[in-house]
């Protein structure tokens, strides 16, 4: 009895003596790339579809970048674009005409050449009214879009094919985000065999012009892609293939990563992340992404007491963002502005500031004076606060609850499942306050302001503007920013918009979350792309470093790696 108790204690408490170090050493960065080897990635989530016209979750997105070539891609240094299928492009002075010159000889995985008409066909396939494309409206300023989606026209007039290698995109009004949205996989050309209309079956055999071709997909298990030898960049990619394992719990991922069965990892449990960051063996390896997502609480502008500007401002001033971040040191960082660090236009100057006296004064002005000494006064009713179950939101809410109590606002937390949360918070005059957030679809400030704070984003149901915030001045500002073709002036307009929103406080901004990416040093030539995760298409593997380190690593008969391998039935 005593012995088994001891064993149990060891299992619970003492299992964390040493963290295995990285496999292989960083090689000469100038070394010529070597071909061969499979790269293995994993995620705890599953993929529902691999059709670029309809998929929009993060993991499917990462896989689509392996399978599909786009006209152009986001630059890995975070600013502007790099060529992909288009060798070069030209935006007319009035901003209404973008001309793409395609490279010759680029091939689809089934052998056909990629031509301008394929790009037009694929975009029309994605934007067709029968295609359940979640981001169709991103392309609404292509001339002829409206007629096409209302079935008044059989094609999109603004997509003009001029010969085999020139595509002209004509816009109904200037739109500075058009290049960004054309760099998304949604706009990527699909093989001619996919046809001109969306078809569910395409997802089972996706075919594009990307660096890797589809090999297999076992739903809930893995997706495998293999090198496309006729890829349009000679010699690339270097890897034989990529295996993306699906539905792998984070702790299993860690064991597999330690055992060298995963080459790259980003889904860490909080405790595991802390251990890797503290481990001397891993020092200097891996990298934080800049943060593409911002988290906040929304204050419904149509429900008392948050219909009063002073109360909203008081909430924004009552929150100690540093305390929320203290609960998750590392991955969660305090934020006081809307645009997160990876987004152009991000401003490092403080935005919404903690100031308890000011918050109390604002509550007084709003008619709800609160005396912190006696605890008397404040808003007389308890307000339900909606958060998403099983997320950091719930923990943040419990800290917020303490902050808001100090200015006389009592909130009661209601943790909801994701579907219920979405349905309730997006319904008009339903939820007064709750957690909110946004992750960039593409690195551009418009992608934050237009869906979140424009009057246009308000609807009776499924409103993306959960604060139901309506400000005609902001609306006008956003329209002129969208049309502005000078990048610097455009960012200035968004800075103005940001200050306006922060002051009106439909959101109290809370924190940004960033990911830590870690890979074994034998994975070479990987440079994290600020616009998306797992941009690993052109990485290569040093086979000697991988093999040598594997032989060296002594594994005790019951190592955790072995147990994990056994449990997961892995190779």
């Amino acid at each position: 009895m005593r012995r088994s108790l001891l064993a149990a204690l060891v299992l619970l408490g003492g299992c964390d003596a040493a963290l295995p170090g990285p496999i292989g050493r960083a090689g000469d960065p100038a070394a010529p790339p070597r071909r061969g080897g499979w790269l293995r990635l994993a995620s705890y989530t599953n993929v529902r579809t691999l059709d670029p016209a309809v998929a929009f979750d993060e993991i499917a997105n990462a896989i689509e970048h392996f399978l599909f070539a786009k006209l152009l891609d986001f630059s890995p240094d975070g600013e502007g674009f790099v060529p992909d299928l288009a060798e070069r492009w030209h935006v007319s002075d009035d901003g209404l005409r973008i001309t793409f010159h395609l490279r010759r000889g680029a091939r689809f995985h089934d052998g056909d050449e990629v031509q301008a008409r394929d790009i037009k066909r694929s975009l029309e396939r994605a934007l067709h009214p029968d295609t359940p494309c979640p981001i169709s409206s991103f392309y609404e300023r292509i001339a002829g879009y409206q007629d096409y989606v209302q079935r008044k026209a059989s094609d999109i007039a603004g997509l003009k094919v001029e010969g085999d290698y020139t595509l002209v995109v004509e816009l109904s009004e200037p739109d500075a985000t058009m290049l960004s949205v054309l760099a998304l996989p949604t706009a990527a050309p699909v093989c001619r065999s996919a046809g001109a209309r969306y078809d569910r079956d395409f997802s089972a055999r996706p075919c594009g012009a990307g660096p890797f071709r589809f090999q297999s997909w076992e739903p809930g298990r893995h997706v495998r892609v293999e090198r496309f030898d006729a890829y349009h960049e000679p010699g690339r990619p270097y890897l034989d293939g990529i295996e993306y394992a699906l539905g792998v719990p984070t702790f299993t991922q860690r064991f597999k990563f330690e055992g060298g069965q995963l080459d790259y990892m980003r889904e860490f449990g909080e405790a595991d992340l802390a251990r890797y960051l503290a481990s001397p063996a891993w020092r200097g390896l891996g990298s934080w992404d800049l943060g593409r997502a911002v988290h906040a609480l929304f204050l419904n502008n149509e429900i008392p007491p948050f219909d009063q500007r002073q109360v909203r401002q008081a909430v924004a001033a009552a929150i100690r963002r540093d305390q929320i971040a203290a609960v998750r040191p590392g991955s969660v960082r305090p934020a006081s502005r809307i645009l997160p660090p990876a987004i152009p236009g991000h401003n490092t100057a403080p935005g919404q500031r903690y100031d308890l006296d000011r918050a109390l004064a604002l509550m007084r002005e709003a008619g709800y004076p609160y005396d912190p000494a006696t605890g008397k006064g404040g808003y007389p009713h308890e307000i339900p606060y909606v958060a998403v179950n099983d997320s950091f939101d719930v923990e943040a809410a419990q800290i917020l609850q303490q902050h808001l109590a100090r200015i006389g606002l009592r909130i009661r937390i209601r943790a909801q499942g994701w579907p219920a949360y979405l349905a309730e918070t997006s319904r008009r005059r339903t939820v007064a306050i709750g957690s909110d957030g946004w992750a960039a679809d593409f690195p551009d400030p418009s992608n934050f302001f237009e869906p979140l704070f424009a009057s246009r984003a308000i609807s009776e149901e499924e409103s993306q503007n959960r604060a139901f915030y309506r400000n005609p001045t902001l609306d006008a500002l956003l329209v002129s920013a969208r049309k502005e073709t000078d990048p610097a002036r455009r960012l200035d307009l968004y800075r103005k918009a940001e200050d306006m929103v922060l002051d009106d406080a439909p959101w109290a901004v809370l924190y940004t979350k960033r990911w830590f990416e870690l890979w074994h040093p034998y994975v070479r030539n990987y440079r994290p792309n600020p616009a998306r995760s797992e941009a690993l298409s052109f990485a290569w593997i040093d086979p000697d470093a991988r093999a040598a380190a594997r032989a060296q690593r002594w594994a005790p008969p019951l190592s955790r790696g072995r147990i994990a391998r056994w449990v997961s039935g892995g190779r």
Binding site: D16, E270, A271, R275, A326, V327, V394, Q398, Q402, I413
Partner: protein, 274 residues
């Protein structure tokens, strides 16, 4: 029996006096003394006897307030399920096979149907239907879904009792049904009821923990043991004490009620004494 009584006594004492002894607000984060040099929750020490949890709240205070709530929910839902189970069992058992036998049939088929549901699924469904979950909901849900076994047991006990000579004599003397049930049947089923409900307390404590762990129970920041278990699991490899504290509390209280229940059974039913 003695160790069971001892454990239950300690538990009751902890639930009643604990919050007062801990002396801290279970829902208040202490960002000054509750955080260690690395930014992690502090371990056991002078400021926080059992350390702080992931949100830097006093672990002992949460454990004590959790004991109060977990125990109160378990007690009240057990009372509810015992009353329902007892009434259904006595009525059903007394009417079985007679002119009103269809009532018994109806009640027992209802029990069969409810028993064939996976218990947790049923509880979660009721919780979801009521939408808002609080201590009251959990209590009702647990009480309304756990009387089935009690009803069956009491029914069979009643069927035995009703054939006893003294019951038949009372009936022959013209005693009306209700007083007969109260005077001659109910006293005979009180013993088993006490035993069943004591052991039921243990399963209620467990069920409440499971519900809170699955986050369909009491809403945060309210502390219950199951909720604390859920919150502690994220940092389990770094700070196992946050899982151990509520885990041990659940273990000991379930053990206590089970031992007590078994002891009571031996004491109340001498023929089965071992």
């Amino acid at each position: 029996m003695k160790s069971g009584l001892g454990l239950v006594g300690v538990l009751v004492l902890f639930a009643t006096l604990g919050p007062w002894v801990a002396g801290q607000d279970p829902n208040l984060s202490d960002f000054v003394r509750g955080v260690d040099g690395q930014g992690l929750p502090v371990g056991p020490g002078a400021a926080h006897w059992l350390g702080t949890d992931g949100l830097f709240r006093d672990e002992l205070a949460r454990l004590a307030h959790g004991a109060r709530l977990s125990l109160a929910i378990a007690l009240l839902s057990t009372v509810l399920s015992t009353v329902i189970g007892g009434v259904v069992g006595v009525v059903s058992g007394y009417l079985a096979g007679g002119r009103w036998g269809w009532v018994d049939g109806l009640l027992m088929r209802l029990v069969d149907v409810m028993l064939s549901f996976p218990y947790l699924l049923l509880v979660m469904a009721v919780g979801a239907a009521l939408e808002q979950t609080g201590p009251g909901t959990v209590l009702l849900v647990l009480g309304l879904t756990s009387w089935l076994g009690t009803a069956r047991l009491i029914r069979s006990k009643t069927m035995v009792l009703r054939e006893q000579g003294y019951v038949e004599a009372a009936r022959a003397l013209g005693q009306r049904t209700l007083p007969l049930l109260l005077r001659h049947i109910v006293p005979g089923v009180v013993g088993p009821l006490v035993v069943v409900s004591t052991i039921g307390m243990a399963s209620m404590i467990l069920a409440e923990s499971v519900l809170s762990y699955l986050q369909v129970g009491v809403q945060p920041p309210t502390a219950t043991w199951g909720r604390m278990l859920y919150e502690g699991q994220h940092g389990m490899t770094l700070q196992p004490r946050l899982v151990l504290a509520p885990g041990v509390a659940i273990l000991l209280s379930v053990l206590g009620f089970n031992l007590l229940g078994e002891g009571l059974r031996d004491a109340l039913d001498p023929r089965q004494a071992r």
